[in-house]
């Protein structure tokens, strides 16, 4: 007897978005909508902790009720919560007539993300992914008077269209091969099987790598981050990646990634390219958001190392890393948004330690974390990933990781260096330094403290990560033929 399970959070977010929709249609009120959004997100977060409410008999199992989904879902919701908090009073909500949808779209994006984390079926995965994508599109182009935003959205739309189509085509090929739409990578151990299933997986991977922005499918990321507003950039760089990585991990949970196969090789190559490419790209950037795009790409590469080393630390280390990455990256974006919303050129950051010492300190903490230096959480995260890699004997990957981390250090540290040194004569900063709103300041403080505290006492998070179980999709039933 099969039964379907709808994660609480998905349910709450669905209802919440309807409530928000209703509220908007009744009367627009920005503050109320923001608070509503926060309430919905908090409720969703709370609901994750609760036992499942909705079980449907006779329906296909679309979602897996496991801790991994809960963890990733919680992470997504928390990150969106942070983004909501940072975007309040930001540049994005300067126009009072348009910003109510912003929060609705955020809720919908969260919904998509959370749906993906639990998906064990192509359909639920696809729907979650595209809900997220479409909501993101709206958010990217939210400042619809800006040409940049439009261009960024256009690029994202076209490329994600291509990627989605590729992925769907891959689904179709897999379906043609296996007759099942459930998450189960075709078992290719008994070669020479028809390669169509492998090709399907590769096409699916293309779609996934695109959303993860892994090299060479990464080119959109920098443009999108540059074109859109800061909070949305954080959303693109963090939330969508968490969601997709969570889904990807689940998708491949039935595969022994230790055995070389075409897709494992592809992931390996992509991981290497991402680590190197992302860091190399970031080294030469002068725009902070493009730099962060490079950094984000590199971090995807690191995550893929954990991904390729599932036993025994891979999942736990990936979870830890996702959390660390989310905290630090959102922190950076929050500081950008709060202190120097116009200062995307890194030269504008000269002497921030003089102008805004607290913010600069927080920024340094985040960067140190991203660079993987103790005592910030990023250090332990990287350590954990390397531990996973070592235990899976991923020698090549690890060497690339070390090499690229060293390259990565350069630009993170250069940023701190820039903040510590006054601007060279004649090149004074033009961008106005603003004071972050109290909410944003509190957010930054919390994130900075979390970065340090989790770095010093990681054991709680480690304990949680270690307890995570990625429920394998149910064993694939033999394709049933109609009589």
């Amino acid at each position: 007897m099969s039964f379907s399970f709808l994660p609480n959070a998905v349910l709450v977010l669905c209802l919440g978005s309807l409530v928000q929709l209703a509220a908007i249609s009744w009367r627009r009120h920005v503050a109320r909508d923001a608070i509503l959004c926060v309430i919905v997100l908090v409720a969703a977060l709370a609901s994750i902790m609760m036992p499942t409410a909705l079980l449907m008999n006779g329906a296909l199992p679309l979602f897996a009720p496991d801790t991994w989904a809960s963890f990733a879902g919680a992470l997504i919701i928390l990150s969106v919560l942070a983004i909501v908090l940072m975007s309040r009073h930001g540049a994005i909500s300067a126009d009072p007539t348009v910003n109510s949808e912003y929060f609705l779209l955020l809720t919908l994006a969260t919904l998509g993300g959370v749906a993906m984390t639990g998906a064990v079926h192509f359909i639920s995965f696809f729907l979650g992914l595209e809900t997220l994508s479409l909501a993101l599109l709206g958010l990217i182009a939210f400042q619809n008077k800006r040409l940049d935003a439009g261009e960024a959205a256009m690029k994202y739309l076209l490329l994600s269209g291509v990627a989605s189509a590729t992925m769907v085509f891959g689904f179709a090929l897999i379906y043609a091969e296996t007759g099942s739409l459930r998450f189960a990578v075709p078992d290719l151990s008994h070669a020479p099987e028809p390669i169509i299933g492998t090709m399907g997986v590769i096409l699916v991977l293309t779609g996934m790598f695109f959303k993860l922005s892994a090299v060479p499918f990464h080119l959109w990321l920098a443009d999108v981050l540059e074109g859109t507003s800061v909070p949305v950039a954080a959303l693109v760089a963090v939330t969508s990646k968490i969601a997709l990585f969570a889904a990807m991990l689940r998708y491949f949970s039935s595969v022994n990634l230790g055995v070389p196969s075409a897709q494992v090789n592809e992931i390996l190559i992509v991981a290497i390219l991402s680590m190197l490419g992302g860091n190399l790209m970031a080294v030469v950037q002068t725009d902070l958001r493009r730099l962060l795009a490079g950094s984000s790409i590199a971090h995807v590469g690191y995550l893929l190392v954990a991904f390729l080393s599932p036993v025994p630390f891979g999942v736990a280390s990936a979870a830890f890393y996702l959390a660390a990455y989310a905290i630090s990256t959102i922190g950076v974006f929050a500081i950008m948004n709060g202190v120097l919303p116009q200062g995307t050129d890194i030269r504008e950051w000269h002497g921030l330690f003089r102008r805004k010492p607290a913010a600069a300190l927080a920024m340094s903490v985040m960067l140190v974390s991203l660079a993987g230096i103790p005592p910030a959480v990023g250090f332990f995260a990287k350590f954990y990933i390397v531990a996973a890699g070592v235990s899976a004997h991923q020698t090549l990957l690890l060497f690339v990781l070390i090499l690229s981390s060293t390259i990565g250090l350069f630009y993170y540290l250069r940023l701190i260096l820039i903040m510590l040194t006054p601007a060279p004569a004649g090149r004074e900063a033009h961008a106005e330094v603003t004071s972050p709103t109290p909410v944003n300041a509190a957010l930054i403080t919390v994130l900075a403290c979390a970065t340090i505290l989790l770095g010093i006492c990681p054991s709680t998070l480690v304990q949680h990560s270690q307890a995570l179980i990625v429920a394998s999709p149910l064993p694939v039933a033999a394709p049933t033929q109609l009589p």
Partner: protein, 624 residues
């Protein structure tokens, strides 16, 4: 053998011996800490008292030792354990035996005299405190070198005197040249020190200890090859210290220091440390004929080269410097011949007469306005008769005028043993003696005879005169304590050292003695014919050959081109470290590839899609 310090005399020596070293050291430390704040009189008094005590203690302990029950053996005073790692043990300990006793007396007494002289010489220098800080530190180091019972302890003194030599050569640091000469002296001797250190390492490994009695006892049983190598290394160290060819280039430059320094360090004591070291280790040295031969050859070559150079020098101190080298050559020749007594005897007499010569030269220099060119002096015989007398005594001793000078007896002893080794050595050494008498009397005749070319002023005070007088007596009469049987059967010196160095070998042919006596006289005669006052002022002969000779046979230039210049020039070229540049290249490559990667983001969405498609195609290729 060390004996329990029960006997009063022994315990007296044991307690005095550290004080011998401590006295100058304490003076040095006091002067160092007061930092030049003491008035000159107080400084000189302090130095005089300290050094006097030092000499007194040395004499008393020597006397008690010789009159004690253990006068044939050695006295061992362990101060403390220096290093004790695993099986290796090094102690700070002092040993008094008859050999070190002689050296101790020479160092402390001659040192005392020279320092007394220096008190007057340097009285007007504003940095007198610093001068005596170094000088007393030097004496302390030298005494440690002499008395240390452990080779490593010797090395402390060895390097200590090197450092003091450096500091004193560069004493007048305002002149860049002086400082450079000081550095040169240190670095060149440092080459030897490194060899010495290696030799010690070898010995320590082969024997397991650097304690000299142990070394002498156990060392001869070591493998001959090891022993030979070790002795070669030690010989190298000694040679550098004693300015023997080919490491001699520093000594002439070292004359940049004040003259008392030259007298004490670069004539009487430090440069002879090598001789002392080899004599100390003669038990090992004798096991390695090859090293001994090398030593003899080095000494032989140095005698001739240095004498040749001395012949054409114009600077009075440089003449004496080359002469020192040459005389040290005699000692090395003696060591190479196994004539330890002869070497030590010449060491002692040389200390007397060379210190005397330097003091006299210093007096001259002081009184002719720091003029050192002998061709600008002249006729000083009348102006400073006592100095003339002293200088003459020293010169006579150096030239080895027969019977009446100390140098004669010590040199004859060496010549005799050289003949035993090979007549060639003997002939060369004899020729060297001939040259010696020529060059030193050249100097005498030019400086003291002829017309006045410079005005002398002032008088040498008592503090300068007295040491010179004492040393003049010693330079003349010091040799009578050891005479060949053909002249008189006096063997005080060799008997003194016999318990340590063994009995004196048998007597030599008397004809050699006669020949050796005639040669200095011939030399003086030739010098007189060449440089006697001729009315017009003598001028230095000039020719390229002479210039080369004067410049130390071109050794300096050779080293400059072979070692110094390539080292410095290439160093300047590589100042920014090519390895560092390599890392810069890596950084540039990273930056470049970063730009290449960033260029992929052309902003054209078609190309982005192209990359996605290309990536997919490539991945699909993996599947096929």
């Amino acid at each position: 053998m060390p004996i329990p310090a029960t006997v009063w005399g022994v315990s007296l020596v044991a307690s005095l011996l550290p004080l011998v070293i401590f006295c100058p050291l304490a003076v040095s430390i006091i002067l160092m800490l007061t930092g030049g704040k003491l008035p000159a009189r107080a400084t000189t008094l302090l130095v005089g008292a300290g050094m006097g005590l030092c000499a007194l203690f040395a004499v008393v302990s020597a006397y008690s030792f010789l009159s004690g029950p253990n006068s044939l053996g050695s006295l061992h005073v362990v101060l403390w354990n220096w290093m004790n790692v695993g099986s290796f043990n090094a102690q700070i300990a002092l040993t008094l035996d008859r050999l070190s006793l002689v050296m101790m007396l020479v160092v402390s007494c001659v040192g005392f005299l020279i320092l007394v002289y220096a008190c007057a010489y340097m009285y007007d220098d504003e940095d007198i405190a610093r001068f005596f800080t170094y000088m007393t530190l030097f004496v302390a180091s030298m005494l440690l070198l002499v008395l240390a019972s452990d080779l490593l302890g010797v090395f402390i003194g060895w390097e200590g005197v090197g450092l003091c030599s450096y500091l004193l050569i560069g004493f007048w640091y305002g002149e860049q040249a002086n400082a450079i000469a000081a550095r040169k002296a240190f670095v060149v001797t440092r080459v030897g020190d490194a060899l010495f250190l290696l030799g010690m390492l070898l010995m320590a490994t082969a024997v397991g200890s650097l304690d000299i009695p142990t070394l002498l006892a156990v060392g001869p049983h070591a493998a001959p090859r090891t022993l030979t190598l070790g002795m070669f290394l030690l010989l190298g160290g000694a040679m550098a210290k004693s300015a023997q060819v080919p490491l001699q280039t520093w000594l002439p430059d070292a004359m940049a220091g004040p003259t008392p320094v030259s007298a004490l360090i670069h004539a009487a004591t430090m440069v002879t440390a090598g001789v002392y070291l080899l004599a100390r280790l003669h038990g090992l040295f004798v096991m390695t004929p090859l090293a001994m031969l090398a030593c003899a050859i080095v000494g032989f070559v140095t005698i001739l080269l240095a004498a040749g150079s001395a012949l054409v020098q114009t600077d009075i101190k440089r003449i004496l410097a080359y002469s020192t080298m040459s005389q040290l050559g005699y000692m090395y020749l003696a060591l190479g011949c196994g004539a330890w007594h002869a070497a030590m005897f010449h060491l002692v007499t040389h200390a007397f007469f060379k210190a005397l010569l330097f003091m006299a030269a210093g007096s001259i220099i002081l009184r002719v306005h720091h003029e050192q060119d002998i061709f600008k002096m002249g006729g000083l015989r009348k102006d400073m008769p006592w100095v003339f007398a002293a200088f003459l005594a020293g010169s006579a001793a150096l030239a080895g005028l027969p019977l009446i000078t100390a140098g004669y007896f010590s040199k004859e002893l060496i010549l005799g043993s050289a003949y035993d080794l090979s007549p060639i050595f003997w002939a060369g050494a004899l020729f060297g003696a001939f040259l010696t008498s020529i060059y030193i009397f050249r100097c005498v005749f030019i400086v003291f005879w002829g017309t006045h070319r410079t005005h002398a002023h002032g008088k040498s005070g008592l503090a300068m005169a007295l040491p010179m007088a004492i040393l003049s007596v010693l330079a003349i009469g010091g040799g009578w304590m050891e005479m060949p049987d053909a002249i008189a059967n006096v063997h005080i010196f060799s008997n003194l050292l016999a318990p340590v160095l063994g009995a004196l070998p048998e007597e030599h042919n008397t004809s050699l003695l006669i020949l050796g006596s005639l040669v200095p006289i011939a030399g003086v005669t030739i010098a007189w014919t060449l440089w006697r006052p001729k009315g017009e002022a003598p001028v230095a002969a000039e020719s390229p050959a002479i210039a080369t000779l004067r410049a130390d046979w071109g050794f300096d230039t050779l080293y400059d081109w072979v070692f110094v210049r390539p080292f410095m020039v290439l160093g300047r070229l590589n100042r920014r470290d090519f390895i560092d540049r390599f890392y810069d290249l890596v950084a540039a490559l990273t930056q470049g590839s970063g730009h290449a990667v960033a260029k992929l983001q052309s902003g054209q969405v078609r190309r982005y899609a192209g990359w996605i498609a290309a990536g997919t195609v490539a991945a699909l290729c993996l599947a096929v």
